[in-house]
Symmetry: D4
Subunit: 247 residues, 8 copies
Amino acid sequence: MDLRELLSEFKNDNIDIEEALDKLKKLPYEDLGYANIDHHRQIRNGYPEVIYCEGKNDEQIIGIIEKMYEKGSNILGTRCRLETYEKIKSIYDNCEYDKTCKILKINNHPIENKGKGKILVVTGGTSDIPVADEVYHTAKFLGNDVGRIYDVGVAGIHRLLYRTEELQSARVIVVVAGMEGALPSVVGGLVDVPVIAVPTSVGYGANFNGLSALLTMLNSCASGISVVNIDNGFGAGYLASMINKLD
Amino acid sequence: MDLRELLSEFKNDNIDIEEALDKLKKLPYEDLGYANIDHHRQIRNGYPEVIYCEGKNDEQIIGIIEKMYEKGSNILGTRCRLETYEKIKSIYDNCEYDKTCKILKINNHPIENKGKGKILVVTGGTSDIPVADEVYHTAKFLGNDVGRIYDVGVAGIHRLLYRTEELQSARVIVVVAGMEGALPSVVGGLVDVPVIAVPTSVGYGANFNGLSALLTMLNSCASGISVVNIDNGFGAGYLASMINKLD
Amino acid sequence: MDLRELLSEFKNDNIDIEEALDKLKKLPYEDLGYANIDHHRQIRNGYPEVIYCEGKNDEQIIGIIEKMYEKGSNILGTRCRLETYEKIKSIYDNCEYDKTCKILKINNHPIENKGKGKILVVTGGTSDIPVADEVYHTAKFLGNDVGRIYDVGVAGIHRLLYRTEELQSARVIVVVAGMEGALPSVVGGLVDVPVIAVPTSVGYGANFNGLSALLTMLNSCASGISVVNIDNGFGAGYLASMINKLD
Amino acid sequence: MDLRELLSEFKNDNIDIEEALDKLKKLPYEDLGYANIDHHRQIRNGYPEVIYCEGKNDEQIIGIIEKMYEKGSNILGTRCRLETYEKIKSIYDNCEYDKTCKILKINNHPIENKGKGKILVVTGGTSDIPVADEVYHTAKFLGNDVGRIYDVGVAGIHRLLYRTEELQSARVIVVVAGMEGALPSVVGGLVDVPVIAVPTSVGYGANFNGLSALLTMLNSCASGISVVNIDNGFGAGYLASMINKLD
Amino acid sequence: MDLRELLSEFKNDNIDIEEALDKLKKLPYEDLGYANIDHHRQIRNGYPEVIYCEGKNDEQIIGIIEKMYEKGSNILGTRCRLETYEKIKSIYDNCEYDKTCKILKINNHPIENKGKGKILVVTGGTSDIPVADEVYHTAKFLGNDVGRIYDVGVAGIHRLLYRTEELQSARVIVVVAGMEGALPSVVGGLVDVPVIAVPTSVGYGANFNGLSALLTMLNSCASGISVVNIDNGFGAGYLASMINKLD
Amino acid sequence: MDLRELLSEFKNDNIDIEEALDKLKKLPYEDLGYANIDHHRQIRNGYPEVIYCEGKNDEQIIGIIEKMYEKGSNILGTRCRLETYEKIKSIYDNCEYDKTCKILKINNHPIENKGKGKILVVTGGTSDIPVADEVYHTAKFLGNDVGRIYDVGVAGIHRLLYRTEELQSARVIVVVAGMEGALPSVVGGLVDVPVIAVPTSVGYGANFNGLSALLTMLNSCASGISVVNIDNGFGAGYLASMINKLD
Amino acid sequence: MDLRELLSEFKNDNIDIEEALDKLKKLPYEDLGYANIDHHRQIRNGYPEVIYCEGKNDEQIIGIIEKMYEKGSNILGTRCRLETYEKIKSIYDNCEYDKTCKILKINNHPIENKGKGKILVVTGGTSDIPVADEVYHTAKFLGNDVGRIYDVGVAGIHRLLYRTEELQSARVIVVVAGMEGALPSVVGGLVDVPVIAVPTSVGYGANFNGLSALLTMLNSCASGISVVNIDNGFGAGYLASMINKLD
Amino acid sequence: MDLRELLSEFKNDNIDIEEALDKLKKLPYEDLGYANIDHHRQIRNGYPEVIYCEGKNDEQIIGIIEKMYEKGSNILGTRCRLETYEKIKSIYDNCEYDKTCKILKINNHPIENKGKGKILVVTGGTSDIPVADEVYHTAKFLGNDVGRIYDVGVAGIHRLLYRTEELQSARVIVVVAGMEGALPSVVGGLVDVPVIAVPTSVGYGANFNGLSALLTMLNSCASGISVVNIDNGFGAGYLASMINKLD
């Protein structure tokens, strides 16, 4: 049964209002065979659509975009290969792409500012930038004012302290760091707002692809810090945005 | 030089205002030899004092409480041994203790409500309660309205869905779960607010003291989830409170 | 001594019946030098032949197929490279190949339906499909009625609940999931039949190539769940089939 | 709304049959504060009640038993401390306890045989017996004919082969093994029925509390094998029973 | 000081016999700058020269071979790249190469048989052959009678038992196995001679590049088993040879 | 059918010689319910009986000893608790015990020397002695001439070199070492006989209960080294004995 | 505010000397957007500039070099790709490159000798040379007298002992070793100066990319040893230089 | 042969000077059966004697002390149990003990100051003190001027910066930290002297007994840092002392 049918059924008294409400909650997932897209999501939570491109082939990605595009949603694609972008660009001309962090955007309507304050993205080193830019673009796309403070790692602590005032002006801070991953602890001690820590897989040797930074962040002595998965820039940007729109 | 001296020096033009401000930032840490207590913290971030009791002997804990007590702070002690509590109780009569989660409280003045909404603490099973109660008491102590939904693990999903409305009424949710640690993902899919996931060391076999639940939570497909350390109820309660007071 | 000789010996009273039976059990393994093929297996357990192609070179695979083909067996090749398939296709025209899950089939006679009920294959996300399709094709090849419910991960639990009736109609369920791996627990709580959990190496960061999903599944609170190796679609399909033919 | 109210509402046409059914599914969980007991479970899946005692204090366990006892259920308690048993025994005189595997039973009515065939529990060594007996008692309690073949580890393979006929007479086999954990592979090669492998934490050195046996079992070359958590005798017995009642 | 000088000094009573003996022990290492070659080794332990080629570039390998060749040694190169072999072949015409196990041989004089009995190399599956052949060629090169029994994994135990007599005729057995790695335990229970277990990195998923097989072998219940590093065919062949020449 | 019956059957021509031989191989395992004892073992391989006491309760251990004692075997118990020894001593007066390495011996007849040469047990430090003594007593019990060189760790290399001659006189060497576990590599470079390396769990911090020493030994550059499980003194002593009796 | 402005402000009495000093400490970090370069570092610690090239693209590296070059610094680039070097060479003609260890140098003025004694770099095998040469070139660049002793691994201990006198002449020793990683312990026992241990990722199997060597070195029984990250030749060279310039 | 004999032999021309020198190097290790004590060490490296008490029983410890005491050495015992100390105290009255860090000292003559500068011991938190005090007492015992800065963890970075001047006055710094282990990186960025990092096993959850802090320290971005084993306060104090006496 589709949405139209369901509503007619209700109008004709074939089903009552409770049942209709109950069905409404479960109905609007379209089954493409390979991916359930949730069109109600935009209505329910006020956010545009996101596709995680890794592990999907080009046909699958384009199929999903088509469905989203029909609804007029703004669309964000993360971890999108350059070749995939080029195919999509040839179909949807308003498509944009950031090579560093592999983010693809299709803005079908202007982004509405939803944040109550400023989100700040901070990195330890130059090599953390691809993940940090995934945070940045995600949070921008979700309607936030976002600032960046890059390359202020703990081994040269004055570079960070010099920016204390700026740090203290944020409502949420995302700290992206690889290697020893100690930056979130130091930032967490300087501010009194939530700090989201993103370990990166940057480093070598006993870094074990980000495990070292992940453990450091989980063991932080500073209060107000929580951690997302290694290299999960999108997750951090999304959560920062969710916190920033709380009123 | 102590605070009094510093201010006289400034009054007498021996040091100028900039220098005074600079020194002010660094000054108020008293050195007890074994622990630096930060009395300014209460002023700076509006929070009472907290002692992490594990790894400190009774003399050290009582010494720290004495200093805090002199300032009239409310005091929270986490992971406090029963014997330690009993010693403290004999000195400070207004001291309270919760045996399940090993939290000690001394309220020298009424707790002021600072939260903008409700914090909800959710657990997967009965065995997660000690950690969940650490979250609960921490968040209460920090001035929040806190609710509890316990024993609603994913293997009987209807128990959780039955409480959907209650979940959706919260401003921040803390989900505490051991064993497979899947609960935060399901909760995260039902709500549109930040979810703080706390893995517990509950379980056996390939649980590896909470590592299994920790990895599950870090790998969650649901957006808006972040993770704190295994069994870190205090950290989750503190962060939830920090988010809940954002305006 | 080969089979013919053995039987003559017995006919001529050179060996007695007991000895003959004893030798019969050990005899029918042909030694190709690099792989022992068990032709009796089809007779013993009513199943066709299977080759695990990974780690074997093209010459070895074709050599094994030749021996099997002579016996008229149906043949299933798992983890078969596209190039290998193309070589085999040029020899055996009735050879089929599924690019997604790298399965090769040669059906020398129609598949006989042996299952007592329906096997259902369920996945958390789009990226789990290659493994899930290995389950699907294996179980089909072994003579079962097999259904598929894909992309119903726990972060959007209604998509799964919407299919509850279908889930409850199965005799065995195989749940394939990467990332947090929580789906088997939820499915296990909805049904009362055996659930075989297959962790996949899909994901990134602290997923550690499927280790996270594997641990989650081993630690499931739901009863009736067991686990096979990471990405082992064939093993799950084979076991599901074995359970489904029990009478 | 409780069950009485719901049914009256339906009788009075205040809610219709669909809604009533929907609510019925979610309703019957009684909330004890610390544990949701599912009385419908017995009706839904034909099984008696089970309590996992580890991580629950005596008061919690006795509270849960009281509720179950009122419904007249047979009750199984796993990982029950001796002291807890003694307290329960003083209240419920028909309570029995097995010291080796720490299982407690209260049989309020005779166990009904539900299995279609025989379940066999096999162990590698003497030290695996506590876990194997947990399998044995669980499967017996759930209404199965259960046999035991103990101490037939792979380092003396003839002890196992000597029992081949007995192995081949089973409908489901549970193999319990610590140390190298190789027994399930050998058993799996001798039979054509599902084999459930239970790694135990028995061993020392590079055994890592059962991790070695667990990995061995997951990597088994034999088909038809799946694995449950380390030392999870109850889970294996429950799953074996679930498979054995399939018709 | 070189050997000649040293002996003259001794003849001339410039140094005494003790000192001469002492110096003799330390002297004969030629320093090529990048690798110390031990020409005395052949004399001291009766063995030809071996080069581990991995991690050395072609120039280094050829430099080492030149020095060895001058002494007339037989030369064995392990883990030798095909390209490297081709370069060497163009210089030393009596050079042979085995593509499967990447072993290079230069026999400057006939191999003298030194073994007291037979060495047997046994593998679990087809994919273990490259490592098993490294064992085989190493032991042959070191002057042993070596037999091979391949593809007799534990999941089809009769294939192995069928060869029991052959196994019991060996003086040393090397068992090479990946996946679950259980074969050495079973072999160890059938024979009464030393068994050297070689885990291979063959497998997938929770195999973790041979770690699973390694742990299984270390935890073996069978007596008389010891283990070498993952994929270390050379080490196993060398040790087997060392044991086999004991008289 | 027991041994007596079987032989009568054969005498009476009810079964022929082949069948009798086949049955003989499988028969002589007595089933005590909790442990299969192999009385033929002594005949087959010329060794006395061994009990691994860990994980067995006193009743089980005494039951096994009774059966062995009846046959007149010499008996070795490893990892035997002091209390267990005391119980056994009160029954079998000729029982001896070594407190350091927890080995129990009952010698019902003199030990026959079987070794062809000398076994040497070498340790890195004082703390490795309990494991080294398990090696020593095991090898002595199995009829070998055994020597000990203790506390010659690599950080003071001269202590080891000082004993080079002694080392070079051995036929097999067992090297026991914890902490960095480097000793077997150095010994292996000094001698030309098999070296069995036993990692111990001695150490702290990043030693991880012997894992560090285990990995070191597996990665040894010296040829002729193989490794047994962490703390497995018995296994090393048994293997050394097996090699030492080769002729 | 830049440095010039700050000093004028101070000259004009707009800020006082204290403030000027305070600002001076924080100022001289130029923000290139992607990397903060610290020009003061050379003044503060008397060292030239270093760029860690991994994880930076060519544009970023060249941008950083430009800024450094303007100041006239000597420049060291570690882990520099050949292609990157070639681009830089086309701009800065005095640029040199070492292919083995991927080090790039631009010496704008002669290196001043700062070391008080000699630094010695020691390796276990030929394959450790790339990391050892990174140590060597780093220490040379930082103004030290550096010697090399290569290929003296513990499995042939006389090669090392032969050089004891040379080892004892050094003021700091850096020991680079892969595989079992035992060399630093032996060296540490021969000398009485600080030993810096560098584990390398050279090896295979249970080496786990250098983890084995790392653990060995951390667990060393020899005193005076400390460890840097796997393959971190630069870090070891820098630290050795820092120790060597102490007076 | 003992030292006296050796020298007479040389005086009498029975052995020449070279041989005498050679033997001198190897001779002075007394063999107590369980521990080789190196009396020459004090002469060779100018340091007193140290006993690592863990893993040695009281008899062994006292036996070693007796031998050392006879030579008049100052004696340091690390990880000494309180009970052991009490036994020793009853024999050697000049014995002192520090309960916090379990260090025992017997000073038979005044400690001679050997350090060229000051060693500073810094800790992150109160719980790191036992390890830090082991560093402190070790360095004092070895003749150094040692300072302590405790409880200056990175989450309150001003507490550390406030002591910058003091940090910069040290010649060697030992930083002891558990939990996230980030302190050495920050200290390393503030100073220009060697920093020895000591991870402690303090913390909980994903700390994994110090592994988290260990990895953090190995991955430090700051130059001039090296790491010793978890909780290895003695090793750090010894190395710091060795660096501090360099001239």
